[in-house]
Structures are given as structure tokens and as C-alpha cells.
């Protein structure tokens, strides 16, 4: 069922050789491209009375016909391989790849994960991940393999360690600090007596201040 990918290479190559080889090995020594050959063939068959049989009489034309047939078969095989080639060789590895590669950052296009990116870098990383997995490495070992080479930056989720403590727990610490300040402020505010009586001195001071304002208003 699984056709090797190399057929993609084989078919076009054999097509080339099918077109060019008869020209080179043509017994009449006709140089030039395939068009020349066809012209020659046509003239040939016209002079001898044109039947299908006569057009295949020269060895060069026979060779061309055979090679073209082979090339056409190979092309059709190639198409068949393209359609039928399973994208997923090992469903388990592909599932692991999908899960793991979406957690890894593409270093070239940093907003994208290794799973999303179509960059050459992401392709290489996926290829190596697949190879490691096929060699029986666990997910953790594959991640280690990449971190050793590219550092923690390749992980979308940074590991908890000394240098990342602030990153992981900073927001929580800020929240706790804010909550503490809030509670302390609220408690202080509650402790403050509401509707406190003003002392005589304060009343007098307030009146003077108000009086000044009125006085200035009068002036204007």
C-alpha cells in the first residue's frame, strides 16, 4: 500500500529520458529535439504510404513508442502513489506529533507553533521529532532533545525553575499584595468614626474659611 516517496523523483526522470534518448540513439543520426524526430517520422511514413504499422517501422520510432508507454505507465503510477500514499504512517506517532508540536514555538516565525508553521525550520524540527519518536523516544525525551539545542524559548510554556519564578508567581504575588492593601484600607476606613462631632475650635475655623470665601465673592 505504502509507495515510497522516491517515485516522485523516478517518474519525471524517466519521462525526460524517454523523450531524449531516442533522439540521441536514432540510427539515422538525426540531431535535435523531439520535434525534429516527429517531423522525420512523418515524412518517412508519408513516402512509404501512411499506415500505423509503417510509422513504427524504424527502430528509433519503436524505441520511442516503448519508452513513451513506459513513461506514461510510470506517470500514472506516480499519480496513483500521490493519491493513495497514506499521510499517516503511524497514527500513534502522528497523534503525539500533533499534540507535542503545538506546544513548541517556531523560532523563525515566533507567533506560530511548530505544528502551524510551514517554515523550513519547522519542517526540520518536525522531521527530527518524528525520527526521535520512531526511535522509541518518549515525549519528554523529544522535548529535551529540542531544549538542549534551542533552549527553553522553544517551549510555549516555560518550565518552573529559579529564573522563571517571578514569571510564574509574580502575578499571583501582585494580586496578593493588592488584596492586602485593599483589606487594610477598608479596615482603616471602617475604624474611622463616622459623623464625628467637630470641636468648637474646628467649627470656628470652618466659619472663618467660609466667611473668607463669601467675602471674596462679594468683592467680585
Amino acid at each position: 500500500m505504502s509507495m515510497s516517496g522516491s517515485q516522485y523523483v523516478v517518474a519525471p526522470l524517466s519521462l525526460d529520458s524517454a523523450v531524449e534518448r531516442p533522439v540521441a540513439t536514432h540510427p539515422q543520426g538525426e540531431a535535435g529535439g523531439p520535434l525534429n524526430l516527429l517531423k522525420h517520422q512523418h515524412l518517412d511514413s508519408a513516402s512509404k504510404g501512411s499506415t500505423a504499422e509503417s510509422s513504427l517501422r524504424t527502430p528509433g520510432a519503436c524505441l520511442l513508442a516503448v519508452l513513451l508507454t513506459v513513461a506514461l505507465i510510470l506517470i500514472s503510477l506516480n499519480g496513483y502513489a500521490g493519491e493513495a500514499q497514506p499521510l499517516i504512517k503511524d497514527p500513534v506517532i502522528e497523534a503525539r506529533m500533533a499534540a507535542l508540536s503545538s506546544q513548541l514555538r517556531c523560532l523563525v516565525c515566533q507567533g506560530q507553533s511548530i505544528a502551524e508553521s510551514g517554515s523550513g525550520f519547522a519542517n526540520d524540527v518536525r522531521r527530527e521529532m518524528r525520527r526521535e519518536m520512531e526511535n522509541g523516544r518518549t515525549d519528554a525525551q523529544v522535548v529535551d532533545f529540542l531544549v538542549q539545542r534551542y533552549g527553553d524559548f522553544i517551549l510555549f510554556r516555560p518550565p518552573v525553575k529559579g529564573t522563571t519564578l517571578l514569571l510564574w508567581f509574580g502575578p499571583l504575588a501582585l494580586l496578593l499584595l493588592a488584596l492586602t492593601v485593599l483589606f487594610m484600607t477598608l479596615r482603616r476606613r471602617r475604624q474611622k468614626p463616622v459623623g464625628e462631632q467637630l470641636s468648637q475650635a474646628e467649627i470656628r475655623r470652618a466659619e472663618t474659611l467660609l466667611g473668607e470665601v463669601h467675602h471674596e465673592d462679594d468683592k467680585v
Binding site: V108, V125, E128, R149
Partner: protein
Amino acid sequence: MMRHWRYLLPLLVFGVLVVFLGRGLMLDPREVPSPLIDKPAPDFSLSQLHDAAASFSPRDMRGKVWLLNVWASWCVSCRQEHPLMVALSRQKIVPIYGLNYKDKRADALNWLQTLGNPYTLSVFDVDGRVGMDYGVYGVPETYLIDKQGVIRYKQIGPISSEVLKSKILPMVKELQG
């Protein structure tokens, strides 16, 4: 007095924030710090660019300070960096070895012939497998490797003449010393 200080607190917090954000803006997000700094250079054995039958390994360089420059003929920034590498190689301060990365042999050879070859030799990493061991994710990248085979510095992107003068050459001198 205490009361006035309280009103300055938001400004203080804002100041700290500005410093952090400003620092963040100055950093180049493309420069991912390499975990390989001060670690032994990964070993490999690759065929040489000019002679497929001959191979090269970083082990051959023990006892020497050298530069490993990752390049490719398809890489535009390499072209930009190239004159500097050629000039550096003429000065014969430090040998430059090339890691030809995911390239075609003919293209690479042609590139060197046209633009000049600053490399003592280049190795041919056709599928980028060795590049991956070195954490290469863009080209060009350059590694400074010391006598013990330890990576001491990694330049991501083309080397500028400032970086060469202010960072790489002083380090080379110190390591050679």
C-alpha cells in the same frame, strides 16, 4: 510628609513599568539565547564541500581557537556578511570554517568562486542535521569555539564590523592567550 509621598507612588510604579517595557523594546526577539554557550561544541563528521571524499570533525580543531560560520548560497544575509568574513580571513587572526547549510554543492561552490572563499574549509550539511545539533535556526550564524572545543560565543545573524571589533576579536585574543 508621608501623605505627599503616597501620591508619588503611582508615578514610581509607572517608572518601573516604563523601564521594563523599554528594555523589552530594545531586545531583539529574534536573538534567542543559545543554551550551547559554554557547552562543548556538538561533535560531527561531515564531508567537505570541495572534496566529498574528505571529512572534517570539530575534534580536528582541538587546541585551536576557531570560528564556525553557518552559511548558504541561498542566504541573502550571508552575502551581506561575506566581505567582512573575507577581510577577516585575510588578517589570519582566527581560522574560519564554514558549515554549508541545506545547500546544493554546485551552488555553494559557485558562490565561493564568485564572491571569494574566506573558509579554511567548508563542510557540507545537506539536510541541516548538524545545524540542528548546533541550534541553528537561521543563517548566518557564527560560533566561536575555544581550544577545549567549548562554544564561547554565538552570533545570530550577520556579523557586523562593530560586533567583530568589540566582541569577537577581543574574545579570540583572550582565548588564544
